[in-house]
Symmetry: D2
Subunit: 139 residues, 4 copies
Amino acid sequence: MLTNTRNLRIEWGDCDPAGIVFFPRYFAMFDTSTTYLMERAIGMSKFDYLKAYNFLGHPIVETHARFRVPTRFGDEVAIETAVAACGRSSIKIEHRLTKAGVLAVEGFETRVFVARDPADPERLKSQPIPPEVLARLVA
Amino acid sequence: MLTNTRNLRIEWGDCDPAGIVFFPRYFAMFDTSTTYLMERAIGMSKFDYLKAYNFLGHPIVETHARFRVPTRFGDEVAIETAVAACGRSSIKIEHRLTKAGVLAVEGFETRVFVARDPADPERLKSQPIPPEVLARLVA
Amino acid sequence: MLTNTRNLRIEWGDCDPAGIVFFPRYFAMFDTSTTYLMERAIGMSKFDYLKAYNFLGHPIVETHARFRVPTRFGDEVAIETAVAACGRSSIKIEHRLTKAGVLAVEGFETRVFVARDPADPERLKSQPIPPEVLARLVA
Amino acid sequence: MLTNTRNLRIEWGDCDPAGIVFFPRYFAMFDTSTTYLMERAIGMSKFDYLKAYNFLGHPIVETHARFRVPTRFGDEVAIETAVAACGRSSIKIEHRLTKAGVLAVEGFETRVFVARDPADPERLKSQPIPPEVLARLVA
């Protein structure tokens, strides 16, 4: 299964009055990591692959996270992201955020690829993952 | 068990290029709903109850969410928040975000009350929930 | 000129490790206040007026703000928003955020109404404000 | 005067339903750039220099920005940050965000160094910039 790791720093504006990360910010970091993983699988930027495949996006349908060790501004962290499973139009992704090698946050997410429903542009409709993308995600 | 409901509107800045909520924003909304629930239980603002009980906060240790129906800017939604269980220093809380009566997002969270560790101010230490607060949370 | 006032509360997640608002959050609050003002002027939700007039949005081209008094989580504040001037395709808007009647933040912004350029959908093109909208903005 | 440049990518979660950056996010980016500049001047992480000098932070008292060219998710941008002027307890900083060498956003900010007022811990009190820090900022 495809994996990707990136390093980032926790910043002042990510943190709350307790001086630690305001936890919704972890989900924004994971969202970016998922983008990087998808871009690597597809070989295009998200802007380009959404257009190329006529996707509106790949919104989250379920997520689960465990926060084991707090992080604070200035902390250098790594996020390892991996495909855990792939279905016809959905994908399971896991994130491990570590600080100095210690597991700080685990995130699990299920996403579904969607397009606008041609019959009703107000609605989203799930879309099959193109075979060549699927092949690279589970390679 | 204590419950609380609040109404809010999804705003432009909560939404992503697909025109729907950027999902980390739901967690920020839930965080505020938890604050309102705690304030109601304790009878003080968060600013005041953190000081009164010498808590640094009540960070999340685990969360789980299901996103069933997308919401977009301009949507009026309601968030019902309820205590699901209380332990010695931890609390389980559930959120149900509805749009026009339809369940759009479910969130489950476990939080732990913490203070700075007097032996090491860089560390957080779990704290027992004061008995009078516990009594009101599970009333 | 049209004005609008709304009340809101500063929340934990709006604040930084100094315990006061992380200033970019004020701009998100002002953005929502501008939306409310526009909706009031046009008599439609933003979702509806963007579609009705084929606007992509009304992005900011310039802003200026003065932060006079800090606010912190739990503070109840009011934001008064007013049209300061209107041009052919641009509008100047002013915000005054007060806490207990004291001016805490002043914001000034210039926005321009835009659509996608039909000749190049990657580009934005300024659009004249429709006369009936202009009439209500400066009424 | 001290300067600093950093590269970053505009992400999906930074953008709004028009597909371009939600402008408050630029201020969060500038805030991080200011932190990097200060860390370089002082030779310590922000976490460390706030403690070393007993500062609570260096909040913004005034800002001004011009948005010339929109950016969207996937855009690689550079932010050049420079000290423009230094006073006894305040500093003026300028940011230039460029995309492919083209100036997209200019930001100007004035910050003041503060500590908690010992006479009233609810209040912030401006603090002189330590001489050795001042020397490096204007070097």
